[in-house]
Structures are given as structure tokens and as C-alpha cells.
Amino acid sequence: MNDLLKQQDLVNNPQARVPVCLCLDISDSMNQIVGGETRDTGRAEFRDGQMWKIVEGGVTALDEMVEGVRSFYANLKEDEVASFSAEICVVTFGGTSPKLVMDFANLNLQSEFPDLTADGETPMGEAVNLALDCLEKRKQEYKDAGVDYFQPWLVLMTDGAPNGSKSELERACKRTSELANARKLSIFPIGIGNEADLKTLAKFSPRRAPLRLKNMNFKGFFEWLSQSVSRTSQSMPGEKVELDTTKIPGWAEL
């Protein structure tokens, strides 16, 4: 019956939509400890392309990221206008294949953001393709219903390098580049930590260079993102959004 509510929102809500795709790395390496107290178990394992020391306790990069996404949702829901215009889809990549965690809908009609578990590989190309497919589907739904929308956003976050199918990766880079060059997509490629492969990230984004997240400051990044989305939803479609770049140094290493 939730589908009915979503259909009703699609046609009854007059607000122009801001579709945002979050493409998030949840490969095994996101289990790396980035804070908190830990106890060494004395074991070590090879996972996701590297040797890791196994510890107990602590806060992982994944924990920080999930908390950041939750605050992103919370901030947007607090803004009356943004909560009617922002629509978020979340695709994760870990294990062996990407997963659609949240599909586009009015924020208040989506379920709570779930807990994520990190494991496996980094099928980044596959994930970006899945996110773009969801985006195309949503755009078609907007067109069919007669709903205005802003240029969609794609946030791509990884702490490593893609190790999925090469052809999928190439296809994904081609698709995002074409959309970005036609100004039909704004891409924000974000590297997490020092291992993130910014060179590959750059291939997705011909118009905006990748940024590296400073000190695992997911909170800072998502705060900036929600403010930017809020500003977009209060102007009207077609308007060129001026991103508040003065705030970027708070979370990025330029």
C-alpha cells in the first residue's frame, strides 16, 4: 500500500523535485577503524585487496558514513520545502554486486535508513550503472506524470579502487561523462581516506574534480550536501545552482 502513497505523492505534490543518487562503497575495507577504542586480537587477514589487523571495538568508516547519511536525511526532512522536493536513492557496492538500498520517493514515505554491513569487493562500475538506471526510471516517471525536476545529482563515495567488471566500469564512466557534459547530471566524486583512487573517480566526472574527505568528516560533507539541496529546492527549476563552495574546505582536502 506504500506504492499507492508514493503514486499519490508523485502526482499530488506540485513541487519540482531534486533527485539525488548516493552511490556508497561498503566493501570490506570500509570496516577499517577510524576512531574509538580498540583491542587487538592478534589476528590478521587478507580482505578486499589488502592485509588487515583484526581488532575489537572502535568506530569504522562505515559507521561514520551511515551516521552521515542519516543526518543528511534528518536535515532535509527538517526543511519544509526540501522535504517535499528532495528525493534520494541509495545504491551500495560491496560483496559481489551492487544493491539498491533505497529507491526514489518522497523522503517521508521511505523507510528508515537501514544498518549496513561492509564486506567483499568494490563493484563500483556496476553500482553507478544501477544508480543511473534508477535515475532514468524516475525521470521517466516524472515525465509521464508531468512533474518538473531539477538536474539530478550523483554522489559517488569510495575508499578504494573498483575491482568489478572492467566493461561495466567503462560503461558507467561513459554514461556519467555524457550526462555531465550535457548538463543533465551533477556528479560529486568523493574519496574516503588515503587509499581512495581519485584517478578512477575523475573518469566519472569530466566537469568537477574529485575531492578527498578530510579526517573522515562524513558529517561535514553531508551537512554541506543537505544545505546545497535545500537551496536548490527553494529556487525554481532551470535555475543554475550556485553551490556554496566556501564551505567545502570544512570537509575536503583540496
Binding site: 500500500m1 506540485p14 520545502v81 521511505q110 506524470a145 508531468g146 512533474v147 525554481m236 532551470g238
Partner: protein, 632 residues
């Protein structure tokens, strides 16, 4: 079109259901009164309603009857019969005098907040007094309305002040030179910043200067902050101060404000600059003084249906139409003085009530060669799309006004949103307006309630929008667009149609902000939905419930993931099923995997299945589906 008889009957029925009806002496002895009773009495008995008769009206009839006035005698005897049948209710107040007019006006004043009232009288004077009371009401929060009608010789009710009586469009008023700006043909360009040693904040003093008079003013608490600066309360009641950030204190801004202050601009609700503000230390320019505003931004109330319902729960169509009239009057005031707003948008108009609104951010208005440097694409006409901002014309502005009015009539929906559309800007340039006018249609109007909202607009209003927005429309080109005065005339006419009961007579659904169907048509059967009570097409109902109500219902959350769900009236009343506790996704999610002891295969039990077993007091099955029920 519906015939006169059907229209009148619809109107009477709607009035009987929704209004208290009061009748005046003179109407009881008028020529068509018998036909009127013949029409209304069966309706009254059917609905179990009655008409209110002030006791003093009865006394007046009695007096006339005593003078052997035959009409009065017949009327009085009629009333006595009607009272026995409980179809009239005599209203008496011990404090009432004998003069019926006064009694009626007092009843109107006392009851107007509680009830919609229909006054039937033949007396023009009483009618106009009664309508005045109705208009006072609008100043509070319009919830109930007062209708005034007379009985014509055919026994039909009709309005007093018909459009025929309306004055033609007024000639442009003569505005004295001290209120009027010139029209410029060239953009004023002044470079450079002004030096400022200190930008004052809360609890500091500033110096206000107007026409050479200076006053010290204290800044109190900050009530808002934005990209340009902050707004503070001041120690003058109802007056606030805008103080710019130091980097925004340019010579251009200073000269523009000086020009704005050189004319006498005084319009209720327009927060125009009142005086220049300087810091106390060096008397450097820091901002300006203006009247304070109140209310909710259009974009955060009227333009988002759930917020519209939250902030203005009792509003009907007449309220949004009145809101348009109020906005247009202020726009006309400014245009008459050659002030062009430039950046008309839903975030710089604040709404308190349909008759109380505030225009803010007035320092961006275009005056003479000082342009308005901002704008939003939705409100930007095709000829200016994707172009740098320069001087705007009245024609440019008219497009923005038409868009704003459209988005108040179809709450929040931009005029060019359409099925199969391109980007918003491309759609505006293309001018492929998708809403129909008579036979002219593209079939691409958006899904949802928007077509219904459009359908219920009066033809004249639709035509005005259509001719403005459609690329081949007669008023689409910049120089041909309708003036603010013309829009005002149109919306005053619309308001008349609503307030006079004419729209009600045609179709009660036209009074709703969100009608549930298209305007009534001749060859379609309408029935009352048993849930919402509104008249809908019979073929769109199931067991007496309309489609909208069937899809509506109680909202609740999935017991597992918290996703919002709806228990629809269709499930409740048609299928008689219980609400789902889990959303479909959770219902299909695996709760547990087990190994079947009979065949050794692994099988899953979903959360949906678990719920079923739990609810029926059953233990979870040990065997897989194939092996269940088989004997081993």
C-alpha cells in the same frame, strides 16, 4: 450548459444544506414568492431543514395585514402553515426592537462566524449593509460567508449586484509626481563599495535619516539573516531595520535607496524603505528602515498542499481568489508608480489572511535605471530565458504575474509542467501550455488534481491564462500581455461569481480548493459520496464511495521497517480486509531458514508468514511446503 431550472434547484439544495436562510418581509410579499415556496418547500422537508424568520418580520406582516394588504395576509397565513410543518423557525430576541432590518443585521453580525448565511430580501439598502458585514468577516479569517439574494418574478433567487452593474475598468489613476518614478531606458551602473568602519548589530544605536530629519533608533533582536545581511526589530513598534553585510554596502545600493526614498510610497503591506540608516560612529551608510512583515511565505504555505492545509485549514477557493485580488491591488499600486518588482516569487510574498499580505525584499525592486538583479526561471518570460538580467518591462512582469496567479489557482503547480515535457526553461520558451480551452487541447496536462482545478476556473479566467501562456495565444507576446489592472478586473469578477453564489448554483465543487472531479456536465449522473459527502460522477464510485475516498484512508507504519503505509477505504469498506501490519517488502523478507527434516531441503519462513502463524496461534512449521501435510 445546465438549464436555468436545474441550476436554481442545485443552488437551493446547496444553500439548504450549507447555509442558514433568513428571509425578509419584502421578499415574502413579492411577486414570485409563491413559485419560490413551491420550489423550496419539498427540499426543506426532504432535508429536514427550516428557514429562519425573525419575529419582527412576522410583526411587520401582521401590521400590513391589519391594513387589509392582501399579499401580506396571504404571506402571514402561509408562514403560519409553514411553521406548523416545522419548515420555518421563528427567531426572537427580547432585546429586539420592531424594526426588522436591524434585527436581521444583528443576526448576521452575531452568527456570521458560526454559520454560512443566505439572506433573502428585495431591499437594496439592506442587501448592501449585509454584504458589508460579510466583507468585514474577510478581514478576520474567512471561514463562513454571507450571501444576499432576491426573489425574481419566476420565483428564482438572483443576486443583487450583477456584473451588469459593475463599473468598466477604471482609467489609470492620476498619480501625483511626488509618488511616481520615471521610466528609464538605460541601466544605471555605479561601481565601488562604500567604506564602513562598523556594521551595527543588536542593542546598538543607528541613525535614521529621512528628508533631512534624523532620529536615533535602537536595534533590538535579530529576526532574520540572509546572504545580504540581517533584519532587526527596533525600538519603534512595527518598524524593522535591514542592516547589510559590509561587503554588500555598495555605492549602487546607496544611490538606489536614495532614489527609492525620494518618492512618497505608502501602501499597506508593502515593506518599502522608510528611511536610510547610518552607523552612529561615523554616519556611514549601513542599511534602511521599513515596516515589519508577518505571515507565511507563499512558497511555504499555499504552494505545498499539506502545508496549505496545515496553515489555512478552512480556506476555500474564494479565499485564494481573494488572495489574488489582494496581491494584484498592491502590484497595481506599485505599477501605477512605475515600480517593477522584477523578482516576483513565492518566497517574497507573505500571507497572514486572504486580505492581509506582505511584500518583502523591496530593495530589489526595479526603479528607474536601477535594475532588479535577481529572478527565478519559473517566473521569467520566454523572451528573457537564459539571458543576462537587465531592465525589465511591464510586459516581462506580466508574465511573472500570470505565473504567480496560476500557481495560486492550481496550488503550487507551475504552468508549464506537463507530460512529456522538457526542462522547465525549454518548456517556457516553447510555450506549449498543456491545459485545454474549449476545443483547444494538447492532452498533455499533468496527472493529479491539476486538471480538476483548471476545469473549475471560470471560462474568462481560463481564457486569460491560455492566451498568455500558449505560444499562439493572442496575449502571449511581450507587448500584448494583460496589464495588472486587467488581471485585477478578471479576479474581482471571479470573486464576485463566488461570493454571489453564482458558482455555487452551477456546481458546489467549484468552491473547493481541490475539486475531486471536472466541472459538472449535462449527460453525466452525479451522486453523493457516502464518505466525503461531495457530489461525484456516479461511474467513478464503488458502493457509493468516490475514487478519491477509496484510495484514501488511515496512515500507519510498517511494524518492522517503519515505512509509511495506508489502510485504504477500499480495503476497509469494499474488501472488508484488515490493515496490513507489514509492508510488502518486509512481508517477503526472510525471517529464518530451516532444514526440512523430511526431505532435507532448506526452506525459508518470511516475516509475512511468521506474522500469519503468530496471529493464528500456530507454531512455525518444521517441514518445507512440499512436505507439509504429507504423512511419513
Amino acid at each position: 450548459m445546465l438549464d436555468q431550472e436545474t441550476i436554481q434547484n442545485n443552488f437551493l439544495e446547496n444553500c439548504i444544506k450549507n447555509y442558514k436562510i433568513i428571509v425578509d418581509t419584502c421578499s415574502l410579499i413579492t411577486e414570485g414568492v409563491d413559485k419560490f415556496w413551491l420550489r423550496i418547500v419539498p427540499m426543506l422537508s426532504r432535508e429536514g431543514k427550516s428557514i429562519i424568520l425573525p419575529y419582527s418580520v412576522y410583526l411587520e406582516l401582521n401590521k400590513l395585514a391589519a391594513k387589509n394588504d392582501l399579499e401580506a395576509i396571504r404571506a402571514r397565513d402561509n408562514l403560519i402553515r409553514l411553521q406548523r410543518a416545522k419548515l420555518i423557525e421563528v427567531y426572537a430576541d427580547p432585546n429586539d426592537g420592531d424594526f426588522a432590518d436591524n434585527v436581521i443585521l444583528r443576526v448576521l453580525t452575531q452568527k456570521r462566524l458560526q454559520y454560512n448565511i443566505l439572506l433573502i430580501t428585495q431591499d437594496r439598502g439592506l442587501a448592501s449593509e449585509a454584504l458589508k458585514i460579510g466583507k468585514d468577516n474577510a478581514a478576520v479569517q474567512r471561514i463562513k460567508s454571507i450571501l444576499v439574494q432576491k426573489i425574481n418574478k419566476d420565483g428564482f433567487l438572483e443576486i443583487f449586484f450583477d456584473n451588469k452593474d459593475r463599473k468598466p475598468a477604471e482609467p489609470p489613476p492620476d498619480i501625483p509626481a511626488e509618488e511616481k518614478f520615471n521610466l528609464a531606458t538605460q541601466v544605471v551602473n555605479i561601481e565601488g563599495k562604500l567604506p564602513v568602519s562598523h556594521v551595527p548589530t543588536q542593542d546598538e544605536f543607528v541613525v535614521a535619516v529621512k528628508n533631512g530629519n534624523t532620529t536615533q533608533i535602537k536595534l533590538l533582536e535579530e529576526i532574520g539573516a540572509g546572504g545580504e545581511g540581517s533584519v532587526y526589530k527596533t525600538d519603534i513598534d512595527g518598524v524593522v531595520a535591514k542592516i547589510y553585510k559590509s561587503e554588500r554596502l555598495t555605492r549602487l545600493r546607496y544611490e538606489k535607496l536614495r532614489l527609492m526614498l525620494s518618492k512618497r510610497i505608502d501602501c499597506d503591506g508593502v515593506c518599502f524603505p522608510l528611511a536610510m540608516l547610518y552607523n552612529q560612529r561615523n554616519l556611514e551608510f549601513v542599511g534602511y528602515l521599513m515596516k515589519s512583515a508577518a505571515g507565511k511565505e507563499l512558497g511555504r504555505s499555499i504552494f505545498l498542499p499539506p502545508l496549505l492545509k496545515k496553515h489555512f485549514p478552512h480556506w476555500q477557493k474564494a479565499d485564494t481568489v481573494q488572495l489574488c485580488v489582494t496581491i494584484l491591488k498592491k502590484l497595481k499600486y506599485l505599477h501605477d508608480r512605475n515600480i517593477i518588482l522584477g523578482d516576483i516569487n513565492p518566497y517574497n510574498i507573505l500571507v497572514v489572511s486572504p486580505t492581509e499580505i506582505y511584500f518583502v525584499d523591496t530593495d530589489s525592486y526595479q526603479v528607474e535605471g536601477f535594475i532588479c538583479p535577481v529572478g527565478m526561471p519559473t517566473f521569467t518570460p520566454p523572451e528573457l530565458q537564459n539571458k543576462p538580467i537587465g531592465l525589465r518591462s511591464f510586459g516581462n512582469e506580466s508574465f511573472a504575474i500570470a505565473t504567480l496567479l496560476f500557481m495560486i489557482m492550481l496550488p503550487g503547480k507551475p504552468p508549464y509542467a506537463m507530460q512529456g515535457g522538457e526542462s522547465l526553461s525549454a518548456n517556457i520558451i516553447k510555450g506549449d501550455f498543456s491545459y485545454p480551452l474549449g476545443e483547444k487541447k494538447t492532452g498533455k496536462a499533468p496527472m493529479g488534481p491539476w486538471r480538476y482545478c483548471w476545469s473549475h476556473l471560470p471560462y474568462k479566467i481560463k481564457e486569460t491564462f491560455y492566451e498568455t501562456f500558449r505560444y499562439d495565444g493572442s496575449h502571449h507576446a511581450e507587448q500584448n500581455r494583460y496589464s495588472t489592472a486587467e488581471w485585477l478586473r478578471q479576479f474581482e469578477y471571479y470573486l464576485d461569481l463566488l461570493n454571489s453564489g453564482k458558482m455555487l448554483a452551477q456546481d458546489a465543487e467549484s468552491l473547493q480548493l481541490f475539486p475531486k472531479r471536472f466541472k459538472k456536465q449535462k449527460d453525466i449522473n452525479y451522486v453523493k459520496c457516502r464518505l466525503c459527502g461531495r457530489e461525484v460522477e456516479e461511474y467513478r464510485t464503488e458502493q457509493g464511495i468516490c475514487k478519491e475516498c477509496l484510495n484514501d484512508g488511515e496512515h500507519h507504519k510498517c511494524a518492522r521497517c517503519g515505512e509509511e503505509m495506508i489502510y485504504t477505504n477500499y480495503q476497509k469498506y469494499i474488501k472488508h480486509s484488515r490493515p496490513y501490519e507489514l509492508c510488502q517488502k518486509c512481508s517477503e523478507t526472510v525471517f529464518e531458514q530451516r532444514v526440512c527434516p523430511s526431505c532435507g531441503s532448506i526452506f525459508s519462513i518470511t516475516f509475512g508468514e511468521k506474522l500469519y502463524f503468530d496471529n493464528n496461534g500456530l507454531v512455525l512449521p518444521r517441514r518445507c511446503k512440499n512436505c507439509r501435510g504429507k504423512s511419513f
